[in-house]
């Protein structure tokens, strides 16, 4: 295992600047997830770490070695591909032992390593099969097995679960987490699924347009988003937002609605801001978790435009400050369309961003 250091790492494709000088330090044994929308540069970054893309500028270190110009095979890394990339003409055992075979290990060593990895991943009965005879989840396991066998310094995962159905994805997520706890390896995990990032990672790196927007623990990026983009990207359903102007110590929205400035913020008069409130922090009276008795709860009578019952909770859609906002109703009851409910908006948990730069106004 080893640390991984990216210093002003840069990637250009002709005139297109895909990764713009990013800095990142991954500690030994740390699980870091790179998230962001398509085209944000997360996969390119991973491919640069793997050695599958040339590095245009900056420095990449694995442990204390600079590996900028080393080919993939000299970096001692393993990678699990989105497509699994299993060799179809080899059996599962041959797939898993391939790296050791190329490294010239003897047959007995290879067999021991493959059996051990197969035992960890519970795929021992599949060793003699070919990839075409496996289900999606089994292929996924084999791909991970191939990565484990190498005993690499760094594990790289490129959206490994995106081809699985929702149920299997949840199951494999848990398994990856258990595997990491067991092996204690350094992991860089690329995903566009923020739930995967939140559940798996020690730290999350949120990227957009080739730059890092925020690096933080799941708790930090969820509760203290550095920008409007991070706030809208992390959390499902996404954070509700509306633009307002600060006048006489209150937020004046374009449709005439008025809210007090959330208590954690001090904002200059006349400034254009964006108020952000998670669906968890807006709920019908008696159907929420947070500070019912909080000092910053705003109460509003609002008609419900639509409701989505999910069993344990119901998502309610209602218009606030001229925008369609989502509210989360815990311990739900049937809500009719158009029914007017008394909503609590917990402003003590609200976020404010600068309308122009999108950066948080939290001190």
């Amino acid at each position: 295992m080893a640390t991984l250091t990216l210093s002003t790492l840069d990637k250009k494709y002709g005139g297109f600047h895909a990764v713009k000088g990013i800095d990142l330090e991954v500690a030994d044994g740390e699980f870091v997830a790179l998230v962001g929308p398509s085209g944000c540069g997360k996969s390119t970054t991973l491919r640069m770490i793997a050695g599958l893309e040339d590095i245009s500028g900056g420095e990449l270190r694995i442990g204390d070695r600079v590996v900028n110009d080393l080919p993939p095979r000299d970096r001692n890394i393993s990678m699990v591909f989105q497509s699994y990339a299993l060799y179809p003409h080899m059996t599962v055992a041959e797939n898993m032992g391939f790296s050791l075979k190329i490294a010239g290990r003897d047959a007995a060593t290879i067999e021991t390593a493959v059996k051990e990895a197969a035992r960890i991943l519970d795929i021992e009965p599949l060793l003699e099969r070919r990839p075409a005879q496996l289900s999606g989840g089994q292929r996924q396991r084999v791909a991970m097995g191939r990565a484990i066998v190498r005993d690499p310094d760094v594990f790289l995962f490129d959206e490994p679960l995106s081809n699985l159905d929702a149920k299997l994805r949840g199951q494999m997520r848990t398994e990856i987490k258990q595997l990491h706890a067991r092996l204690g390896s350094t992991v860089v995990y690329v995903t566009h699924d923020q739930i995967e990032a939140m559940t798996l990672a020690d730290r999350i790196v949120i990227m957009r347009g080739g730059v890092i927007e925020q690096v933080g623990t799941p708790d930090e990026v969820f509760n203290r988003p550095a920008s409007r983009f991070v706030a809208s990207f992390i959390g499902s359903p996404p954070m509700n937002m509306a633009e307002a102007t600060v006048t006489r110590g209150a937020l004046h929205f374009d449709d005439g609605t008025e809210f007090p400035v959330p208590p954690a913020f001090t904002v200059a008069e006349g400034r254009r801001v964006v108020l952000g409130l998670r669906p968890d922090d807006i709920y019908p009276e008696g159907h929420g978790i947070h500070s019912e008795s909080g000092h910053a709860v705003e109460r509003r009578e609002l008609p419900v435009a639509l409701s989505e019952p999910l069993g344990n909770e119901t998502l309610l859609f209602t218009e606030v400050a001229g925008q369609n906002w989502t509210a989360r109703m815990l311990n739900p009851r049937m809500v009719k369309r158009g029914e007017v409910l008394r909503f609590h908006l917990d402003l003590s948990r609200a976020h404010l961003f600068d309308a122009e730069t999108g950066l948080t106004l939290r001190g």
Binding site: L52, R73, M79, F81, S83, F98, I102, A132, L134
Partner: protein, 288 residues
């Protein structure tokens, strides 16, 4: 009769109709081959008879015995022709495959300037009929002394085959996911090892097909060979067929016997290579 029973009957009926249609088509396809084998075993009188004699009255291997009985005794230098055909067809196939694999891989995997123009150019060469090349080739070869040589024929056939092998192999390499070569590199392979260990085995059906096509083109080609070869030093089997024509007569039986001698190696080769032609080897590489 209820609807299910009539539907069942209809399904069975159409299956039979399809089988009969297939049998008739196969009969039409196989008939010329069968006719050649049959004609090599019976006298010219019977071959030329009108109406045709479908069931031969007597069969003999005289034509084959004569063929190998040496020049002057009704024979032709079949061993030399055979040797020339093998040397020319095998060498040009190997060279065509080597160039086809390199070219096909490059077109499938790399981006470079003028890629589509190059590819289109290669395909356009296929539109020129081989026979149209014979006169220019003849003049050129006469100048550089390649007439009646193995090398001359090998170069001509390689040039004819390369565009097709590149096109065919390119298609097969395109089907091999790029991820596989990358996974192999991460697993410790060099670029070269990744190609031979992973991409080559998966594109093998395409490479085998290209090989068969290239071999058969060189093996069967007549028009160019009849212009560019002169003696037993380089004449191939198809050109050797002409030895059975005289000023006023054609020995159809002998010609058919030589045709059979030509067909057998081609058939054997195709049979040997066909096990590599299994498709769908790449399934299971990626999601699905």
């Amino acid at each position: 009769m209820d609807a299910n029973a009539s539907a069942r009957l209809k399904k069975r009926g159409s299956a039979w109709a399809l089988n009969i249609a297939l049998f008739i088509s196969m009969l039409i396809i196989c008939l010329p081959g069968l006719w050649i084998v049959l004609n090599s075993l019976r006298p010219t009188v019977e071959i030329m008879a009108k109406p045709p004699v479908w069931i031969p009255r007597e069969l003999s291997f005289d034509a084959y015995v004569d063929m190998f009985s040496g020049v002057g005794q009704g024979g032709i230098p079949v061993i030399e022709y055979f040797r020339n055909s093998v040397i020319i067809a095998v060498t040009s196939t190997i060279i065509s495959l080597a160039i086809g694999m390199s070219g096909g891989y490059a077109f499938a995997r790399y981006r470079f300037k003028g890629k589509s123009a190059w590819f289109l150019g290669l395909m356009l060469t296929r539109t020129v009929p081989g026979i149209a090349l014979s006169l220019p080739l003849f003049f050129l070869y006469a100048k550089v002394g390649l007439i009646d040589t193995h090398a001359g024929m090998i170069i001509a056939y390689t040039a004819l085959n390369v565009p097709f092998t590149i096109w065919l192999i390119d298609g097969f390499f395109r089907q091999v996911p790029r991820d596989l070569a990358e996974a192999a590199q991460i697993d410790g392979c060099t670029r070269w090892q990744a190609f031979w260990q992973v991409e080559f085995p998966l594109a093998r059906p395409g490479i085998a097909s290209a090989g068969i096509f290239a071999f058969l083109t060189s093996w069967n080609e007549f028009a160019l060979a009849s212009q560019l070869t002169r003696s037993t030093d380089s004449k191939t089997l198809p050109v050797g067929l002409l030895d059975y024509t005289a000023e006023f007569t054609i020995d159809w039986r002998g010609m058919c016997a030589l045709a059979v001698v030509m067909i057998i190696p081609a058939l054997l080769l195709t049979y040997a290579v066909q096990k590599h032609l299994v498709s769908g080897l790449t399934s299971g590489a990626i999601k699905g």
